[in-house]
Amino acid sequence: MARAGLQLGLKQALGRVAAGAPVPVFAVAGQGAREHVQDLRLDGRLRLVDSPGAAMVLLIAGGLPDGLAEPLAHLHDSLPHPRATLWWPLGAGPATWPQQFVPTIETRDGVSETLQAIQRELLRGQRPGEPPILPDEDPVPWKGVGPYGQGGTGMTGGTPYGRPMAELGADRDGLRLDVLPLRIGPFFPRFPPGLTLDLKLAGDVIVDVAPVESPFAGAPPVGVCRAGARIFVDALSQPVPVAGLELARAREHLRWLADALVAVELGSLGSRVLRLAAELRTSDGDSIRTLGRALRRTQAIGWATNGVGRIPAAAVEGLGAGPIARAAGLPEDERTHDPAYSGLGFEPIVQRDGDAAARWRQRLGEAAQSLELAARAGDRRTVPTGSVESPRGRLDGEGNATARFLHLLPGVLQGLEWGDAVTTLVSLDLDFEEAVFAETARAGAVAS
């Protein structure tokens, strides 16, 4: 009895101390939420974590298309007790909310304050932790099967403890060892939201990969278009100011950089970049050049990316793959066809190597160039031609660079070590959201 009392007292004391800790949040970015979620990195009151095991609150931001309810439920159940879920709609309608999650908490005022309040209540026992959503069922019935009831028979047969074992497969090394089938996504923190890959791994090397059709692509939008991509989608159907467009492009490139820096363990430098992106002005060209030097010194453009994920120019020719193509030396850019750019002295920047480092350099160079263009553009406006050069490449009613590039992904990733594969994927800056809204914009234009 006394021991129980002591335990309770200790728990309460710890709870009071822990309530002030930065809230560990596993954030899921739906449509219209990418920047908002990213900006949470700058908030000292919370901490974005990479796996549900490290989190206390599951933050679901923006609109989520159908088909993601089950992965979300799995994520939710993977959070340790005590846990809570917070929905941050960001303009998405209540219809998109997966019904298993009721009752849920919606943000009231600031999302950080709400998260802190949830944590405080959870730790002080004022709010019960959420029970699991999914039923307690084994994927395969296995209990009681086999000599020890573990579900398997023989050396490698059956489904011991509910899963089969990996099977042998061929490999470039000539050894026949196991090939591990693994499906990763759609909320793997280093992948763009919605990307799921079907992988086959021999050791840490990818022997086969196939992208799974993303629930984000092809479906009608369920939220609002995120702020950074908005202007490029608008430019499809209406004239927009060149200065605003170019500033948005530079900002998108810097936001990409902030995420890419997290992937190479330079999160604190990433926060600096994020702040620069949020407050970017046309006069910030020098800051970007300084940043470029810093990236070379930190070897982010260096040993982390040199020679990784080389994509030859021939593979992406005519694809409108934007920075990916220009990093490989192709001067493809929709802006060269836009009369609004004719007097600005615009000339696409290109690199030669086509590797991840070249793509990093390319985006930095383009960010600086965009600021110069924005400074010179005055009040020029673009001429809508049905296609726009977005930060990821050609954007038109049919889709964006990501949609067109996706079928090349297996060829790019095969044979890479896992770390190199992630570096490559990050350097591609894939985005499924842009295309969804571009299609809607086209549909809207056709309807009107």
Binding site: G20, G44, S51, P82, R275
Partner: protein, 310 residues
């Protein structure tokens, strides 16, 4: 017989230093991160944060996976922490203030570092999770590569002392510190020290591209113990670096223990700063560079320092 404290005193002292070291490390790391990120620093929050986050992890429940190796999972962080404690126990604060100074203290420290790879492999293997498993194998490659440069870089410091006892090694640095005697010793030791506790550029087993690697399935106390043990190891590596390269307790004006603490913190800052200023290395590259560059360099270092002694 060589110097040592009574077991009870040693356990309490090492435990206290370990906890204090981990706390200082957490604060320093966060401070450096804030400086690099350019955030405004609030001292109160900075000092409280490690304690608050630690308490939070204590209150979170542990997770488990579908079919883990439960015993291995429990043992790995404990083993890692135990090895860090042993490594730290070898570091003398002054000529006669040391938890334990075996005649082969040097080998004991090296053995502790070698056993770390078992702890990390075990930790990555146990949850039966793909990312953790990849982390474990990466550390295998990393550990087998840094092991020899590490031993060699440290070995050169034993030459002038003619002994494998850490106290003797520090004692032999009265006139000249080993950092001067062995030009390549300290840089090599620091590179490898970062690799041992997989910090920053050499955080390959618990990397961001593996969503946390070996620690991906851990929550609550598991995570706290793992992170704590890892930080403790870095403290031990820094403290040992201060002892064998920077002359340990030798220094003017201040008492010996103060010098040891100062030098340890200085090395810690260097080790931690690398985490915020250098991008992660690719594993294949690290293996290659270790064997083709670091090992010959370490051997050369042994020879140059040997030749200087003759």
């Amino acid at each position: 017989m060589r110097d040592y404290a009574s077991p009870g005193v040693a356990i309490v002292a090492v435990g206290a230093i370990l906890v204090a070291g981990v706390y200082v490390l957490a604060v320093l790391d966060r401070l450096l991160g804030m400086i690099v990120a350019g955030t405004s620093i609030r001292l109160g929050a900075l000092l409280a944060e490690p304690v608050q986050s630690g308490a939070l992890l204590v209150l979170q429940e542990r997770r488990t996976t579908e079919r883990p190796d439960a015993a291995g999972w429990a043992l790995a962080p404990a083993l890692f922490g135990g090895l860090a404690a042993v490594a730290l126990a070898m570091v003398p604060l002054d000529r006669d203030i040391v938890a334990a100074d075996p005649a082969t203290g040097f080998v004991v420290f090296s053995a502790a570092i070698a056993m770390v790879m078992i702890a990390i492999y075990l930790h990555g293997w146990s949850p039966n999770s793909a990312f953790a498993l990849h982390g474990a194998y990466r550390y295998g490659a990393q550990a087998l590569s840094f092991q020899i440069p590490f031993l060699l870089a440290m070995l050169a410091t034993a030459l002038p002392a003619e002994s494998l006892s850490i106290v003797d090694i520090v004692d032999a640095q009265k006139s000249v510190w080993n950092v001067v005697r062995e030009p390549a010793g300290l840089p090599l030791y620091l590179v490898v020290g970062v690799a041992v506790s997989f910090w920053g550029p050499l955080n390959l087993p618990d990397a961001a591209d593996l969503a946390g690697g070996t620690v991906v399935e851990d929550s609550g106390l598991d995570r706290l113990l793992w992170k704590g043990a890892r930080a403790a190891m870095l403290v031990a590596v820094a403290a040992m670096g201060a002892a064998v390269f920077l002359g340990g307790w030798w220094g003017p004006w201040l008492p010996g223990p103060a010098w040891v603490v100062l030098k340890t913190v200085a090395l810690l800052v260097v080790l931690l700063a690398s985490g915020h200023l250098l991008a992660r290395v690719r594993i294949e590259q690290f293996v290659f560079v270790s064997w083709v560059l670091l090992i010959p360099l370490a051997l050369l270092n042994v020879f140059v320092s040997g030749a200087l002694l003759l």
